[in-house]
Structure formats: structure tokens, C-alpha cells
Symmetry: D3
Subunit: 299 residues, 6 copies
């Protein structure tokens, strides 16, 4: 026996589902590449929330593709195994022993953890690295001298990803690539995600970071730029307003936009349900980079 009055809460919730409808419709069938990294990958609770968001995205009709980074697990393992690093010009050299550990932790620990959580939450994830199915081909990146098995991506073959999307799976990708002579190369996760987004002509490329977005004043968390044209974004870099680690992230987004991705986003992965907030609200969160000019392009 069920009493009528009890439905009050349920109806309120139903109305929230209905509020989400326009966004669900808008992104139905669209591909979203998510670079998952930073704090969102370390904090257990946030990790689970991000995965819930991704599974929800999948079930309401979007095609999420996850590219993850490395995080502290790699350093911990190197330490435990007492593998010392050499440095050239202040940059750590990824020698073969290091590369082996990097690959092992990326593809055998972090990647499989994500797969576990997604599958436990009801999604169907398949975890691969850029080596599987020839997804990512790299050559040695010598822009900072020879620092070992650090690669720059020279080819992306998305067949393995589209196969998975066609069959309803969520691809989870570790940023390793195959290089000359069959050697494994470590590639930057943000770049890998951006290149994959380009190759997939994704609707959205979302970088989960540990900041609120692009700040015009790094000391003022209220100075987040909501939306910015990609040409204006370049000017921001040239003018020196964007600094430090945000520069390569923003460049990554600019490249993606220039190569056919519709929207790139730099959002705060520490925020609860940041992905859903970005997808299912009008304003979104963090910074959105696009090809068009925005009214409030605030430079």
C-alpha cells in the first residue's frame, strides 16, 4: 500500500530529470573525449563520482572516451623499486627501466582501476593503451634533447576506438605509444587526449584539472574566463597572461579546436560532478574554448 503524499520528493526529482532533457537531446550521439587526471584521479570519492558521471553520459546517449594520466602511482613505484632517474637540463630521462615501470603502472594499475570502477557502476569499459590496435604511433621527442623514451605522437588510428563505441563500450586509454623498432614511448596525456579528440572529430574535449579554469589572475579564483575564442586564447598566451603549466593545456585545446573539435573545456576536476555540471547546465563550468567569438569574450 503506497500513500500519495509520499511522492512529493520523487516528483521533484523527476522534474530535475526533465530539466536535463534539453542537454541530453543536444548531445545525443555525440563523442566527448575526457582527459582524466590530477586530483580527480587521486581522491577516491571524486574518482568514483567522475566515473558515475561518465557512465551516466554513456547511458543517456553520449559517447565518452576516457584518456587518463599517470599521477603519483608512477613515482611511488619508481621509488619503491629504487629506480633512480637521470636528469638532462633539469628534465628527467625516461630510460628503458623507467619506461617499463611507467607503462606497467599506467596500463596495469591505473587503467585497470578505472575499468573496474566503470564496470562496477554498470558501464562496459575496455582499457587499452595507445599501443593496442596501433592507436598511437610516436617518435622520439627531441624538443628538449634526448631524454629517452618520451615520444611525440605522429599518427592516430582511431579504428579501435570507433569499433568500441559502435558496440557500446567506453574506451579507457593509457597514454603509451608505439615507437620505432617496436619500443614503447611515454606520451603526454593531455596531448594524446587532444589528438584522439581531433581524430574522432569530437563534439567536446574536456580537460579535468586542479584549477577552476583559465584565470586571468592566477591569485584570484574569481578571474575565471568562462568562454573564449581560440584566437583570443592564443593572444592570451602571447601576451604572457597565461603562465606555467596552463600554457601547454591551453595550447592542447587550441590545437583541438583548429583541427575540428567543436568545443574544448578546461574544468575543475576537484568539483563534485564537474562533468555533469559542464554537460547539463547552460553556463557549464570552467573555461570553454571555441572557434566562434563570444559576447562575453572577456579580454
Amino acid at each position: 500500500m503506497i500513500k500519495r503524499q509520499k511522492y512529493g520528493d520523487e516528483i521533484a526529482k523527476a522534474e530535475i530529470l526533465i530539466e536535463a532533457l534539453p542537454y541530453i537531446r543536444k548531445f545525443s550521439g555525440k563523442t566527448v573525449v575526457i582527459k582524466y587526471g590530477g586530483n580527480a584521479m587521486i581522491d577516491c570519492k571524486i574518482k568514483r563520482m567522475v566515473m558515475q558521471d561518465i557512465v551516466l553520459m554513456k547511458y543517456v546517449g553520449l559517447n565518452p572516451v576516457v584518456v587518463h594520466g599517470g599521477g603519483p602511482d608512477i613515482n611511488k613505484m619508481l621509488e619503491k623499486l629504487n629506480i633512480k632517474s637521470n636528469f638532462v637540463n633539469g628534465l628527467r630521462v625516461t630510460d628503458e627501466a623507467t619506461m617499463n615501470i611507467v607503462e606497467m603502472v599506467l596500463t596495469g594499475k591505473i587503467n585497470k582501476e578505472i575499468v573496474s570502477i566503470v564496470n562496477e557502476l554498470g558501464g562496459k569499459a575496455i582499457g587499452i593503451s595507445g599501443k593496442d590496435g596501433g592507436l598511437l604511433k610516436a617518435e622520439k621527442d627531441i624538443s628538449n634533447g634526448d631524454i629517452g623514451y618520451v615520444g611525440k605522437i605522429v599518427n592516430v588510428d582511431i579504428d579501435v576506438i570507433t569499433m568500441m563505441l559502435d558496440k557500446g563500450y567506453i574506451p579507457v586509454i593509457a597514454p603509451c605509444a608505439i615507437g620505432p623498432e617496436g619500443k614503447t614511448y611515454n606520451v603526454n596525456g593531455d596531448t594524446a587526449a587532444g589528438k584522439i579528440a581531433e581524430a574522432l572529430k569530437a563534439e567536446k574535449f574536456i580537460l579535468l584539472t586542479d584549477v577552476e579554469g583559465i584565470l586571468t589572475d592566477v591569485n584570484d579564483k574569481n578571474s575565471v574566463i568562462s568562454r573564449i575564442n581560440f584566437d583570443n586564447a592564443k593572444k592570451l598566451i602571447d601576451s604572457g597572461i597565461i603562465k606555467g603549466g596552463m600554457i601547454p593545456k591551453l595550447k592542447c585545446c587550441i590545437n583541438a579546436i583548429e583541427n575540428g573539435v567543436k568545443r574544448a573545456h578546461i574544468i575543475d576536476g576537484r568539483l563534485t560532478h564537474s562533468l555533469l555540471l559542464e554537460i547539463f547546465t547552460d553556463e557549464g563550468i570552467g573555461t570553454m574554448i571555441g572557434k566562434e567569438c563570444f559576447d562575453d569574450d572577456n579580454l
Copy 2:
């Protein structure tokens, strides 16, 4: 510039989306036949809400099929046109003139209104009648003597429906059928919906009504039976506990269960978002009829 504190509400909403995930997963790709009638078809606000619920169901991966009834529009039109009805044993005879109006209002007014609303809300509906594509074949129903073009369904050809579902459309069906010599017959909407649910081997067959569900005491709205085994439901009818107009509705549900539908539901269409409440909560609403025995099968 976006302030962090403002996300409070949004996050709460995101969490409600996440709460819906297990239900979305559970019914992903499943077919749900909804008999839409009664007050839910008259009250403008509820009508729109029901359609929102159906569009949401579609976008989150279910396959809703709508069968609608007639409602007061038919009588209004008959009156306006001054078409008098003959009665045989107290039953109105559907002569050819009446049948023409019934079909015209059903397929040309009610059906198209539903299509309009669904499409306006972002769904892709196609409105047809049981005559289109040979969906429903009928012969004269003489169980109450010859009362004209009142048919009982003798064949259901779901090709036209599965074609639409495969292409992402929401079929909206008026309960007319093709009879001998190409004549149009009026068929009972509940029965038509039930037969279509059977032919589709639907996961759910939901009857939207103007009551809270099956009541053990028609005067006590708290006497709703939540869940009942279909054999027990038959006994309820035999024992005389179920009375009046609820008998054919319940029989319709029992038939559906016997012919392969997984769950049949009699729910209160007057209730805000009744469909979502049924699909997206554990307890659901109204009465559920199933093949298995339930713990709380309360007879």
C-alpha cells in the same frame, strides 16, 4: 566570471541524475508500451508532462510506444455534427457515419496533437493508426450483438512499429483497425495497447488511468495493491473484489503477462510525472502485475 558557491544547487541536481542511473541502465534498450488516456489526455498541463516523460524515456535509451484513446473530443464532435446514436441493449451502435467521425477525431486530431507535442519537446514522433502498414486487423465484435463497426483484433503486424523504433522514432498509435472489405473498425484502446505490447514482447505495458491503481476497497484510496501475481489477479476478479471498469483493464494486463510481456502496470495518470515515478523509483506507483509471486502479494 563564475563563482564557485553558485554550484550548490547544480550539484544537488547532478546527484539526482546519478540516482536515476540504475533505472536507466536497467531499462536501456527495453520497449515500453504506454496506453495514454483518461484525464492525462484532457488536462493540458498533465498532457505535456506525460509527453516530456516519454521523450525523456526515449533519450535515456528506452523505446516507448504510445497508444492513445479517444476521450471527450469524439463525443463533442458527434454532438456538434448532430450525429445521433442508436442504442442496442444499452450499447451505442457505431454506424458508418459515427465511425467516420471517430476515426477522423482519433487520427486527425488527438493523434496529431500528441505528435506535435512530442516533436516540440524534441522527440521524433510518427503518428499512425492501426490501419497504417496493416498494423491491426479486426473483425466485427459480436460479443454484445451487432453494434456496428466495433472490432476485435485478430492480427497484429508490428513491422511498422519495429521499423520506427529501429530508426529512433516514437510511434504514436490511434486504435483504429482494418476490417473485412477494407472497412475501418474502432477497437478498444486498452486492448489494442495490450496486444501491441504482446506482439513486441515489451518489457512493460503501462495503463495510464484515473485511479490510484487496483484498489481492494474502491472507497479507500489507501487500499492500492502495489504488486500482484497475475494468477492472484484473476482470483481477485473471480471473487468479485475488482469491480466495474477496472475488470477489463486488469484482464488486459493479465493477458499481456500471459503472452510474454514482463510487467503490466495500472497507474494514476493524473499524478505529476507518473511515468517517471513508475520507471525511475524502486517502489514505482500504482499496481504492478507480473508472472512471479511477490512477497507482499496482499490478498
Copy 3:
């Protein structure tokens, strides 16, 4: 026991089938959009013949698409319901009450009658309006001032038609369209048919009318132009030779040709088996408009 001599008649008939072979081959797999209206829609016997012709076309491998008009049923119903029309500049205003009746008669009476006949004759028709599946989008046509819910077509989405053709159905389409705010608009049937023919890149667009074709002298039924180049047709209009109601019909054909339809035809729907005569004879009937110049382009 069958006697040999009796086959004489049958053999003669077989030879006629064989005569049709070159035409069947020529149009095998081709799409033909037929605007069905005028007397052919009123006279019961001709109606049935037209539908037979269409079913035959389907079975011998063509893809007929039927767009129908309104006819006298609409006015009769408006009269019966005592709905008075306002006039602006001599043009009747389609207010909401009128529009409701127009839609109801078009989609609930005329459309379903055609479906009934086609299905009875062994075809598999599905009757829809331009609102179903988002087929026709319109906006208010203000070329004659604001005369209410009269629309001009701004978008044609043929997915719903190609889906039906792929599955062997005959689409039967009522000329209603969806307009701003989900309102229904009445659109001209000839124009709707022409636009649909364009969107389908149809082989033929056939207008069934109540005249012999385009006449150079409206008083001389022998002055039919058999074949005319579309540019010459424009000149005929400009020079004033074509008059009255034939002008919009001819413009409709010219537009269709300019937008990719191979042949447009204005034929006499009152003539027995006019469609078959057009398709299955060398000379065809009525007037054919094409992109190329014809030897006998008789201006």
C-alpha cells in the same frame, strides 16, 4: 480439363504485359512523387483506379510517394460545423479553429481513406502528415498578408519517407507542416509534393489535375503541349499564355526540375488509368516538363 483454344485471349493479355516491360525496366527502382488531387480524389471509381495504378507501380518496382490535397471534404466539414471564415483582401484567413478542422479532415479522413484503399488493393501504405517525423517545417506565409496558419515550407526532412520506401511501404502524405511554437500550418499540396520530389531527387513528379495538360489555348483541349523545356515554360508564363490556376502548378514543376527532379508532369487525373498511361506508354499523356530541349517544343 482445359481446352487449348481458350488461351487466345490470355495470350493477347500476356503480350500486353510484355509490351510494358521496357517501361518497367526503365523505371525500376525509381522514385515517383504523385500529387493526388482534384476530381481524381472525388470520383469514387477514379479514386480506386488511381490507387490501383499506384499499387501496380509499387509491385513492378517503382517507388511511388503520394501527396494528397484537401478537396471539398474540408469545406463541407467547416460548413457543417458552422465555422465562418474571415477574409483579408479576398483571401480566407485560416484561424486556429479552421486549421484544426483542416488538419482533422486532411489527416483523419482523406489520408486514412487513401491508406484504406491502397491496403485493400494489396499495397502497404502508411499515412502521415508533414508533421510526423519532422517531415515538413513551415513558417507563416505573409506573401498575401497575415492570413493565419498558412505556411510556406522552409525545411524538408525526408528520413521518414526513405525509411518507408526502404521497407517497401507506400508513403501517403497530408500537406500539413509544423511551424513556430509547434503550431500546425496548412501548406499548399502541390508545393509540398514538389518540395518532397526535390528532396528525394525523384525521377518523376506527377501532378494529377482536372485539365488535359498545359493548353496554349484554354478553350481548345487539343492545344495541349506534350513536352516543354523548363526555360521555355518560364517564357510561357512571362508571355501571359499560361493563365490563372495553371501558373502556380507550372511554377511548381519548373522549381522541381531546377532542383534535381528529372521530369515533371501535369496530367489529367480524370482520365482512366492516367498514371499508367503516363508511365507505360512512349508518348505519355498531358504535359511533360524537362531540363532538355525537345524536338517538338511547340511554342
Copy 4:
């Protein structure tokens, strides 16, 4: 300028097309295996008519499959080449030299002539022998002692035929089969056609012969049996009423019916448009053998 009165003839012809509609509908998509032989293969005019009939059948939606026989060309060629035959118990021995000529004439002359005519008439024929694609496997038929490369069919692999039907081609098949050690065997054309009809679960298996059908009195052409149950047909053979060359033909039909073909027909190929008469008239021509009992089963 076209005069109205001239349409009289054309309309009469259109009506004959319309008369054919029920038969076209009835056999739409059905497979018909035709054993083409006898006089119909010798008389140039009849040959062309048969092929016209087959092309028409294809274009109106049936799936004809042609198996042809040998005819006098083989003997003529053997004579010209002065190849003498040995006889065992009065039966000609097909030695290797003979077999080579038989195959060459069957597949290189008769088969290709049929293909030419069909293609010239607008069909798309592909001519193969039972050796192509492993269609027919045979072993030596020793039921009459060892008379050389005369085979009985032990396997039918219809993949090559269904491939062609799926793509709209008309398969034309010469009755050669592949035997042990890759040797070519000659197989009986009627039997080959019957076995292929069985493997295809054909709707009809039609034997074109030089008689009116099965006669109860071989001297009375009016004694044709129109329709006969296959069990009754067996009795006719057992009772000695059927005699001579008709026995194997009738057995062939009986086998086909027993193995899933719906109807078998023995018709008079000398008759103008015999195939169309069979398919497109109610009574058909010649003798029909079926699984059911017929009212007029006239024994």
C-alpha cells in the same frame, strides 16, 4: 498535341496490367525454377518469348532461375566432329571425348545464347554450369550399368545462386556437375532443375515440355489433368496410366513437392507465353502437382 480519343487502346492495355496485379502481388519475392528445354529451346521465336516472359517475371518481382537442357545442338556437334558413340544395353555411353563436347555445347553455346537473349531483353543474366561455385556434385550413375560420365546428383550448394538472386541477376544453369577426381559429369536437366528447386525451397518448379501436360489418354490432348495431388500422381504412375518419357518428368515433380517445393508444373513450352499464362492466370496451364488435395483431382 495529343487527342483524347486516341487513349482508348492504351486504357484497355492499362486495364490488363491491372488485371495482372493480384498475381504479381501473390508471387512477389518468390523463387521460380524453370526447366527450359524441348521445342521452346529450338524455335527461335518461342525461345525469345520464353526469355521475355522470364525477364518480365524478374522485373515484376519474382526470382526466376533457369536450368536448361541440351537439345539437338549436342548431337549435331558430335556428328560434325564424327564422334561415334558406343552403346551398352541400348544406352549411349558418354565417354570422355563425348563428355567434352557435351559440356562445350551446353556451357559454351546453349548457355551463352540464353544469356545473350536475356541480357538483350534488358535482364541481367549470368550463365554458369553446375561446376561453378561447386553448385552440383555428382557421382557415377550406375543404375543402367557403367555408361561413362553420366552422373547422379549427390549434393547441391545453392550459395552461388542465392548470391546472384540477392544482387538482382537471373542465374542460367547448364546441367553439368563436378564428380570424383574433378571430372565433369553430365546430369539430367529435369533432375538438376528439380534438385535446385528443392534446395531453394522454390515457390514453383516449372518444366517446359513439348506436351500439353499430363494426359490421362496420350492420344487425347483434351485429357490434360489440370491439378493433381502428389500422392495421386504416384498412383497414376503405379497404375500404368502415365507412360514413357512422362514418368521421369512426373517423378521429378513429385520429388520436388516432397522436398519442400510448393508447386510443380508440367506445361507446354510450345505455347506462346506459356510461362506468363501459368503465372498470371487463375487456371494456369498444363498440369500442376501440389501437396494438397484438389477438388477436381480427376482420377
Copy 5:
């Protein structure tokens, strides 16, 4: 019981399979058109070897298409049948009687022999002529005056070939074509093969001949040109170095390269396993004609 030492030989063989791997990979899924003629078609042992090579090619993933020539069988048959030829300017006239024999031997003897051998060796061949499925259309070749039914190819419709390749068959094609009025025309086998290779955008077009390749000195078998650019090949013809029957063969190859074939080869069909040597070794055999310039382009 198996002794270890016995594997020595087997392992050596396995290593040879492994050696073939790079070539198998390189040509996986690629189409190779083989003109099969000359001595390779006469010598029984070589014939069988060529067919083995072709079956192997098929099973390791290539798509071989065989076009065969006529050889001495035609003349033998013409002689036996005492068909005398007329000559115009020294060229034999192919009159209707001759054409009939040519077609019969080509399609009924040679073609079917090839099919037999391929099928016996485990391949699935289907033998057709250019007339089947409308593959080759020709018109009278009057470049040498009117010498009867000698055609030049004016259209290639590869639908019938791609259908067979898609289903895993090996097409075996006799060089007859359909000409005006449905007449059969004899076309040059090399040209037919080249045109088919062009239409298929084949990876390789291989001409099996009775010479080692293109010789710079016809008297020195060591003067074979291994690889040559197609423009240089033209110069060789213009300069008079290439002589006699090699000129049309080389022109055939040049045309193929100009029309999209990647590589053309003139190889010695008398050589054991010449096809495998060409495909599965680095140097290949005979002469390869390509679009690019080769280091050792030895002019």
C-alpha cells in the same frame, strides 16, 4: 609416438612460411588480375601449378581474378569442323560461324577446365564470359578494317566480379563481350584483363607470357628489364627497342598503370610457380611496370 628429431624438416618448412609473411601482409585484401595464357595454358603440369598458386593467393588473403586467353584449342576445333577462314589484309575475319566456335571453345571448354582445376584444388571458382552480367560491352573494332566479330571494349561493369570477390569466389573470365544487337564479339584477352584491372583499381595486373619479361635484346635472355617507369616504357616502344608481339602487351600494361593499377607485370608463365615467385619474393620475376621511377631503371 612421435620422435623429436623428425621435426628438423618440418621446422625448416615452417621457417619458409614465416619468410612469406611480409608478402602475405603486404598484399592482404588486395586485388590481382592475372591474364592467363600462352604455354602456361597448354602444358598440363604448369597449368595445374598456376592454379595452385592462384588458390594459395586466395587463401592467404589476396583477391585473384583470372582472365584467360584462347590458345590452340580454338584453331583445332575450327580445323576439325572444317571452318575455313577468310583473310582481309592478312588478318583473319571472324565471321559468325567462326565466332560461334571461338565462344564455344573459350567459354565451354577452356573456361570450364580452369574452373574444374581450381575447384579440385580447393578454391571456389565461378567461370563466366564478358557477356555474363553485362561485364564487357564492345563495338566492332575497325582499326584493321571490317574483320567481323572482333570487338574493342567500350564499357566494363565490374559488379559481377566484385559480387564474387565479396563472397570469396575466384572469378574466371573468358574474353567475349556483348556487342550491338546482342551479338557476341571476340576481344583481345590481354586488353580485357587490363581493362578489368583498371576498373577494379587492382593492386597488380600480371601478364603470364612465354618470355622472360621485356628484353632489351630479344636474343639475350639475360637482358630482362626488372623494373621500369611507365613513361620510360613508352620511350622504349617509340625508340623501336621493343618489337613485335611485345608492343601490344606492354601498351596494355602502360594503359593499366595510367588508369589506376598500381603495378603491371610481364612474367614468364613457363617458369614453375611464376606467380608465387612474383608475389612472394622481394625481386619478383620478369618485368614490373610502375608509375614511379626506379633506381635501376635500366635504359
Copy 6:
């Protein structure tokens, strides 16, 4: 310039390819599950050879599926990380820390190494674990008491494998499974491979081991049983002839045969090209277990 005499060697090699043809044909399109483990996984040269064999199998039309084991890498890593194991009844307990390392080495090192080699050799491998796509579901194996995250397989979902095979990939699978509460469980590699072979209804299930096959006398390498019926194999176990580690391997094979795999093989992975020897020779190597009785079933 190429000299003729030089082809001697090449022709001999071509003949070996031709020798392989019957085996290639026999196994074309068939699925072969290979359990890759033991010495073949440790010795670098053999590892590469095994992968060459697998890539060759793929290119000549078989569908190899690789399941690998763990090997010494796991223990090495546990040692390096100083993870001590607890023992219960002499069995090592796989606690969470151990399981993490086991998974990391299996999926992040061994699996990816195999993928690298296969891809370098021209195959297209995708490396996954039993957790990806829900391939393997396990529950705690308590047959030896609670020894931690050691699982027995309770469900195999081969969708992810068939998807890869359909697209031409070689699946490489690490024997981890998903267990209750989303925990990772270690499962026996032989068992996992056998269960996967069963689910795929594989043609062959090949266990690469470090012995010559099943020996009737473990001290006599000449006592290998070549072929044995699966029931006889059970008797060998019951009678105590089979001992130690061979028992579970043989049981694995027997189960596979009982559940629809056609042949199971226990072969010596240390032998050069052992897989090719098994597939491409008549006698094969090692021990073959099948459903039928063999002539030389030597008990």
C-alpha cells in the same frame, strides 16, 4: 637483370607454400585459442617465433586468440617490492597487495609486451584482461580454503572477443577476472583459456607447455601419446598414469572437448615453430585430445 638459374631456391620455397595449402584451407576462418605460457614466454627468441606463428595464422585466415600466463615476472616483482606471502596449508595467499602486483605485471607488462611483438611483426593485437568488457566473471575459489583473491570463473562474455575478431584484431588476454564488489581476482590461465575456447566453440584449443605432450612414462620422452579420445584420457587420470601438473592441464582439455571445442592440444612450446608444426603438418605435434576414437589410441 635477373638470371634464370637463381630461381632454384625460390621455387623450392614456393613449393613449400603450396604444401601448406591444404592446411590453410582446412582451418580457414576457424578460431584457435592458444594458451601461451611456460618457457615459450621466457626465452626471447622462442617468444618472437610464437608470435610470428600467430601472426602468420591470422594472415592465412585463422582466428587466433591468445591467453597468456604469468611466469617469473610476477615473483620477481613481488620480491623486488619485498611483498611477503602468507601461506595456508602450503598454498600462497593472494592478498590485496599481492593481487595488485599480479594484475599490474600481467596486464601492464606481460600483456603489453606480447601486443608490442605482435604489432611489430605486422599483426594487429589488442591486449585486454578478463575484466575488460566483462569478459571473465569470477567468484572466490574456496576449494583450497580461503586463499584470498584467487577466483574460479563463473561467467564468460565473449562479445569483446568476437568484436575484435570480426574487425581483424588478435585478442591478447590476461587471466584476471572481475569478482564480487568489483574486486579483481586472479584466475588460472589454462582454465581461462579453456573456458574462452568453449565459449567461442573454437576449432582448436592449444596449450603451449614445457613438455613434449602427455607421456605415459614421465621419464621417457618417447612415450608421448599422439592422439587420445577424451574418455580414454579421463581413464588415464583415474588410473594414475598421468601425474602432477599434467592432471589439471589434461582436465582443462577434457572439459573443453566436452563443451564443444573440436580439438585440444598439449604441445611443447619450447620447440621451434611448434604452433605451425601443429597446424600445418598431418601428424601435428604433442598430444591431441578429441571426441572421437583414434586408431592408434594407445593405452
